[in-house]
């Protein structure tokens, strides 16, 4: 098996429409400003904060017939994917056709789903046939494949934020077995009032965010190597998660030689962060980055943003980067990126 490298990265986040904007914001460390998330036509008797992706700059608008009425999650994903291709030295307007696409998400196309269901509740006979196909989980991957002209292996995975690690595992097989030459892995999420409210049920201070991260994986070329993957450490409850997280640090240590940067999953809310903080407490780091503290909780996109950030940190510091991915529902992971 050839080692897998992250040749290119792209990101759309609360910090802006580029991976560089993500890096600068997270290095600065200050939480980005949020705004109250309004309910359509209703007052909400409890606060509900969101941190949204800023308006799209004109140069980031991709033009294609398929993209005319797509939802935000697709627009973020397209921009991140094109940036990753460009970062890897490909012409995003004419990328190689032997690239695979693996798309990961947790909530999916929530804006159109909420809107379509509302139409169904009002009068199903008048529900829009244009909206319904955009509610399907794999619509964003389909649009990106059409935009890039990729007609081979394209798949969508639904799960927690760490699902991207299963995608990386499969991409590694696809690349090493010749199914594809390279693989674009994208994870994305869009925010709406329903998902923002849902987060407040977990903790009233959780701020819903959105965005997309994209990685171009390859067995050739330059870029940080994915030198170790720890996990999945499977769990089905928060208590079991707490018990398993210390294994992340124990299993990561043998892969670390010299100083490293940690990119963790902490939210800035002590109650939610306690287990992860305890797990890594015996380790010394060159620097610790906590993207969620800065960006907010971008759910299915969050680990992709961690990995994109880690790639940029490894390139900049020429030191290893550890990504901590405790996950939310099913399994914890960590990985080591080596420059």
């Amino acid at each position: 098996m050839s080692p897998i490298r992250i040749r290119g990265v792209g990101a759309v986040s609360t910090a802006g429409w580029s991976a560089e904007a993500l890096l600068q914001a997270v290095r600065a460390g200050s939480p980005l400003p949020g705004a109250a998330c309004n309910r359509p036509g209703d007052e909400r008797p409890w606060p509900c904060d969101t941190r949204r992706v800023p308006p799209v700059p004109p140069e980031k608008i991709a033009r294609h017939p398929r993209l005319r009425r797509v939802s935000a999650i697709t627009r973020y994903s397209v921009a991140a994917a094109l940036e990753a291709l460009s970062d890897a030295g490909h012409d995003p307007a004419a990328p190689p056709r032997d690239i695979g696409i693996l798309f990961c998400m947790m909530n999916g196309c929530v804006n159109y789903t909420g809107r379509f269901f509302h139409e169904v509740q009002r009068n199903p006979a008048q529900a829009s046939p244009l909206i319904f196909p955009e509610t399907v989980f794999n619509a964003p991957a389909s649009h990106i494949a059409a935009l890039l002209g990729i007609d081979g292996a394209v798949s969508t995975l639904v799960g927690g934020p760490n699902t991207i690690m299963e995608a990386i595992d499969t991409a590694t097989y696809w690349i090493n077995s010749g199914v594809v030459a390279e693989c674009l892995i994208i994870a994305a999420e869009e925010c709406d009032w329903l998902s923002a409210e849902a987060l407040t049920y977990y903790h009233p201070k959780l701020s819903a965010a959105e965005g997309a991260g994209a990685l171009l994986l390859s067995a050739s070329g330059n870029g940080p190597q994915l030198s170790a993957v720890i996990g999945p450490l499977a769990y089905t409850s928060w208590q079991e998660r707490h018990q398993r997280l210390p294994e992340l640090a124990v299993q990561t240590r043998p892969h670390l030689h010299g100083t490293a940067t940690l990119i963790d999953d902490r939210t800035g809310i002590p109650k939610l962060d306690r287990s992860e903080a305890a797990a890594w407490s015996g380790c010394t780091w060159n620097a610790v980055r906590s993207p969620k503290v800065v960006l907010g909780e971008s759910m299915g996109a969050s680990v992709a943003l961690q990995l994109a950030l880690g790639t940029l940190e490894a390139r900049a510091t020429q030191q290893p980067v550890v990504i901590s991915m405790p996950g939310a529902n099913t399994a914890a992971y960590a990985c080591v990126l080596t420059p």
Partner: protein, 407 residues
């Protein structure tokens, strides 16, 4: 094109829950009787919709999950209940009472636990204040939380992978699992697909005018006017052939997936991606079209799908096309969406084991584009290989080739 298959992948257990019945035996009896399973939908209001019937599963009323207390059973989605029953049957066939030794679970679904999400949305819209149990609904709407309930039921821990490529999800999940075994990442994987009827999805297909107004799908009929939805689950236990097996039911001999870029919801009329997946899966299995004794088509009954698939089968089979035996079991049970590919793969396995062909029902006049042998009534047959096609919204195409093992 995937590399040729080297690792033989044994199917050691299979389970099926469909509108035609619970389990292998009931489904086989229904298929042998050319029975249809459509009835009025009572799970939600269909008054304002064109279509009012579907293939509905009659789930047992009792609590199926022994480790979930009675007061928490409402957290479990219908689709997950069907999946549990299919998993239990697959494990029992493999001589297992639990999931010990299973390296991963790969499941396909299109809608997940959408009905729980619908209740969450309804509550949130109706109540400005906090609603009791909303956190639970928000959590359990996520398909991975539903999979956790299944993992807990068996006291199992391992990777859970959920593939969601619309109507190809179930076939993709089985192919994904086969790839895990091919690559040496796993020795034993539980794979399949499921979906339950959901109001949002039903209304979605209805507004697209994709559902047959009469409620009767007629795949490959010249006057076909749409599909019927259904629900169900299909599961296979896949194991590397070098494992010790007492009972091998068949093999996953080939799998290929490709993407149709033509349109988000309509196939390329020439079936380009389907030709590629059928050709690729056969190449991986080391067979040609002449060796395929039965094709379980995607065969939805919509005008666009069937003409494209018929063209693809003709191009793939070449001169052999008149002898290619094809049917669509969606004509009997409906389109099971994320469950379709897996359930139809299990039906192919049943056909290989039983040496029979299930029928395409309700055909009055065969579409002129059909050049293959459209099987219109259940019949005994000799077959060594079966192929199943699954095509989804978004353009995901998947083909599985299964190989017979003598009973």
């Amino acid at each position: 094109m995937p590399p040729p298959s080297r690792q033989r992948i044994a199917i050691t257990g299979a389970g099926i829950v469909s509108p035609l019945g619970m389990g292998w035996a009931e489904n086989e009896r229904s298929l042998a009787a050319d029975r249809m399973a459509f009835k009025p939908v009572e799970l939600f209001d269909t008054t304002a919709l064109i279509a009012k019937t579907a293939g509905v599963v009659d789930l047992p009323q009792e609590n199926l999950f022994q480790r979930v207390p009675a007061h928490k059973q409402d957290r479990i989605d219908r689709g997950t209940r069907m999946l549990l029953l299919a998993i239990r049957e697959a494990l029992a066939q493999a001589g297992r009472s639990n999931m010990d030794g299973i390296d991963a679970m790969v499941m396909g679904t299109s809608a997940g636990a959408m009905p729980l999400g619908e209740v969450y949305i309804e509550n949130a819209r109706q109540e400005p204040g906090r609603v009791p149990s909303q956190l639970s609904r928000a959590e359990h709407y996520l398909p991975q939380r539903q999979m956790n309930i299944i993992a807990d039921e068996f006291g199992w821990r391992g990777p859970i992978i959920i593939v969601s490529n619309a109507c190809a999800s179930g076939a993709n999940a089985i192919g994904w699992a086969a790839d895990m075994i091919h690559s040496g990442r796993a020795k034993c994987v539980l794979a399949g697909g499921y979906d339950a009827l959901a109001r949002l999805v039903f209304a979605g297909f209805d507004c697209l005018h994709a559902l047959a107004p009469s409620g009767i799908p007629r795949p490959f009929d010249a006057q076909r006017d749409g599909l019927a939805l259904g629900e169900g689950a299909g599961v296979m236990l896949l194991e590397a052939e070098d494992q010790h097996h007492s009972n091998v039911l068949g093999e996953v001999a080939g799998y290929t997936t490709a993407t149709d870029l033509h349109h988000l919801t309509q196939p390329d009329p020439t079936g380009k991606a389907a030709i590629r997946t059928m050709t690729g899966a056969c190449a991986q299995a080391g067979v040609t079209a002449q060796d395929i004794g039965y094709v379980n088509s995607h065969g939805t009954g919509t005008p666009f799908n069937d003409v494209a698939e018929a063209a693809a089968i003709a191009a793939w089979a070449g001169d052999a096309v008149p002898g290619i035996r094809v049917s669509s079991t969606k004509s009997a049970m409906g389109h099971l969406l994320g469950g379709a590919g897996a359930v139809e793969a299990v039906i192919c396995l049943m056909a290989l084991r039983g040496q029979w062909l299930p029928a395409s029902l309700n055909v009055r006049t065969v579409d002129p584009g059909v050049r293959f042998d459209l099987v219109q009534t259940f019949r005994p047959a000799s077959l060594e290989y079966a192929l199943t096609n699954s095509f989804g919204f978004g353009g995901t195409n998947a083909t599985l080739v299964l190989k017979r093992r003598s009973a």
